[in-house]
Amino acid sequence: MSNEPPNLSTYEDMADVTFDLSDTDISEDAVNAELESLFES
């Protein structure tokens, strides 16, 4: 059994929302990296 870590797209698809970080100091890659690092696979 292997579960894949989520990323922002996982939440966007699930909640039907868009996280637009284009004009912010936060990158989508940084968020995805945090989600992946916290997930124990």
Partner: protein, 211 residues
């Protein structure tokens, strides 16, 4: 006071069938903060909802109903004794908190679990045309499904569990007695003017059913 609030509240309501039978087994559990009737506190109920074992468990607080509540605010009672004074997340940053709370099957039978919602947010301003003073997003993430060998489905519910009203949820298949699924929190707030303008004060619902 300029501050940002984030409160997730958890409570427990055990199904009446299990209590009436007195077997110690449970077939159904629904946990929701608004339902303040409890048969046991969250820590010792058949579906245990507890702070994480590590220091990040201090971000979880206890309400007057002995229900667990995640509190990244100045209302957290652990400030000064576990939380060293912080009262909210940073702006223009990604805040990640691992192992903030956990769900443990403290019954006798394997159960399937649904957790909802997993995405929370608040926006101050208007989206179209864009004029945003503040935006806050909070995400919950299961931490160790592979360790305890449960199958996670994002946005899919398992047969027998009512479909949650919120669209963001996970189904957890096969949580065995004694197993605990830990949860992480990732939050982001932008821009700096978000301080004091956005907050999340919501609920998380946890439903467990015997397969």
């Amino acid at each position: 006071m300029n501050r940002r609030k984030f409160v997730l509240s958890l409570g427990a309501l055990a199904g009446g069938g299990a209590a009436a039978m007195g077997t110690g087994a449970f077939s159904n559990v629904e946990a929701e903060r608004d339902i303040s009737v409890t048969v046991a506190n969250d820590a010792s109920a058949y579906l245990g909802i507890q702070p994480g074992d590590g220091p990040n468990g201090n971000y979880a607080d206890t309400t007057s109903n002995d229900a667990l509540a995640i509190s990244l605010t100045d209302d957290n009672n652990n400030i000064g004794s576990g939380v060293a004074g912080g009262e909210g997340i940073n702006t223009n940053a990604v805040t990640s908190i691992g192992d903030i709370f956990k769900i443990q099957n403290q019954g006798t039978q394997e159960v399937d679990v649904a957790v909802t919602p997993l995405a929370y947010g608040d926006i101050d301003g208007q989206v179209f045309p864009p004029d945003i003073d503040g935006a806050l997003a909070v995400l919950l993430e299961p931490q160790n499904p592979d360790e305890i060998e449960v199958d996670i489905e994002w946005g899919v519910i398992w047969p027998g569990i009512p479909v949650p009203e919120d669209v963001s949820f996970i189904g957890i298949k096969g949580l065995s007695p004694g197993d605990e699924l830990r949860f992480n929190l990732v939050a982001l707030a932008v821009p700096s003017s978000a301080i004091g303008s956005v907050e999340v004060s919501d609920e998380i619902q946890i439903t467990a059913r015997q397969p």
